[in-house]
Symmetry: C2
Subunit: 315 residues, 2 copies
Amino acid sequence: MSKTKEITDLFGIKYPIIQAGMVWVGGADLAAASSNAGILGLIGAGSMQTDILRQHLQKVKTKTDKPVGVNIPLLYKHCEAQIEVCLKEGVTIFFISAGSPKKYTSYLQDKGCVVIHVTSTPELAKKCELAGVDGIVAEGFEAGGHNGRDEITTMCLIPQVVDAVSIPVIAAGGISDGRGMMSALALGASGAQIGTRFVTSIESSAHENFKHAIVNAGPSDTMLSMKKLEPVRLLKNEFFKTVHEAEAHGASVEELREILGKGLAKQGMFDGDVTGGELEIGQVSGMIQSVDTVADIVDELIETYNSTLKSLVSL
Amino acid sequence: MSKTKEITDLFGIKYPIIQAGMVWVGGADLAAASSNAGILGLIGAGSMQTDILRQHLQKVKTKTDKPVGVNIPLLYKHCEAQIEVCLKEGVTIFFISAGSPKKYTSYLQDKGCVVIHVTSTPELAKKCELAGVDGIVAEGFEAGGHNGRDEITTMCLIPQVVDAVSIPVIAAGGISDGRGMMSALALGASGAQIGTRFVTSIESSAHENFKHAIVNAGPSDTMLSMKKLEPVRLLKNEFFKTVHEAEAHGASVEELREILGKGLAKQGMFDGDVTGGELEIGQVSGMIQSVDTVADIVDELIETYNSTLKSLVSL
């Protein structure tokens, strides 16, 4: 049996691909389009008030009858309320990030849910397996948004996570096309989670200015920042420059917290202030040349994957 | 034609793999063992005085009749003398790093040599192609030793370099086994350059203490450091800690230069002071479990590559 079947069977999807659940970007429209395209759509709950999340969960059911999951970062105080809303609305697939895998895994599994936990090290992956999760997203240094402190790249991370656990591993970070997809599977992953490429889909809630900033970005235009606080990969703009200069001078946690302020991610990603706002995005931005529908992105990815596989020969 | 044939034909080797030419590690023994194993062995000239380099070039000819190349970083003042010694000793394969591709490419090609240039961005790769080089090593953030400032990982770098140029691209950074090898080819590379795994070969000149420190390293035990000076990936030890703490406090270029001192790489990598010495190594250290012969490393890599390829199916 191909390893990818572990993922397609687990979620009841056609292709072993997850559309990452992203703050300010991943609402009902993106998740429904993704699930309708044969991959797993995720709603990104992190940036949603509980009532907004409820609206997205109700809306998504009107747009697709395929499985849709929710990503819940345990960073925020309303995460427990979010989980309860999800359960009430019939969500059965949870991607949990930024917190302990022990906290909700058995609680959710007892209610018949599938629980996946996001990790950035093989050590945490082992802890997740011990906590009984159904699978792992292993996210490399190149991924957008919040990121691990150990700076382990997807290339180095995936084989070590795959060797460390016996549950399915979904690779994330640096994957945007069929070549990246095949690379992830070659490294031993059973599937891939893709974020940045779907930010630049027509159906994402990202502001048009943000989408175009990503399309215009070059290979060197993101950088992992805020390492003393919570490491986050940012698109280079004026906000990034302020952070970067402060860090070069040895800024303290308090100074960084002051620069970060409140609401700058919404201001940048959702409201479109691509100069002063915080733009969380993956390094793979440099590879993205256009804004397309999710269906076209998925079709092209699968086509490239299959042609890449055919082009490789034994050594 | 498979893309890997571009590399095997260019160098006259069996497998599209290059043993990286590394300071304090890559002498005649390692290069000969590599070339005898069917890959391209490189002598790492960076750390060698010109007469020492001559001795290695003469020795390697007694140990293999297969092609052997030399890596010459243009960082050091004796690089021109090194090139002349190489030409005198009949070297026809040059891997040039850390300098302008315009400087020696046509000079060497006029003498019948193959010239490869090492890059860490697609932009520099384009400049290399314009300068007429025969191929490119594109080296990602996870690679050991000196590294680019833009922190582009192998996963993001390779497809963008492959799309930017029409000459062969050799992937480097994060590759140590058949899974990494296949990942590199999936991303569009024609071959792979492998460093860290060969540092932990029996034939490398690395001190036993250094080899064992790599074998004992975990996935999070290296970090890109000295970013204000010349970014270099280091194994975490007391020397690293000094650098890291200085950087966290916003150390200037001058302060970093003072910490770096002179001779600490030799002290660590060659003389075996794994506490106070500078240990340049790749992030893939966490994956390496043993010290083996080059022949065994290559055989296992090819076997894993072939079995990985067989395990993947169309989507």
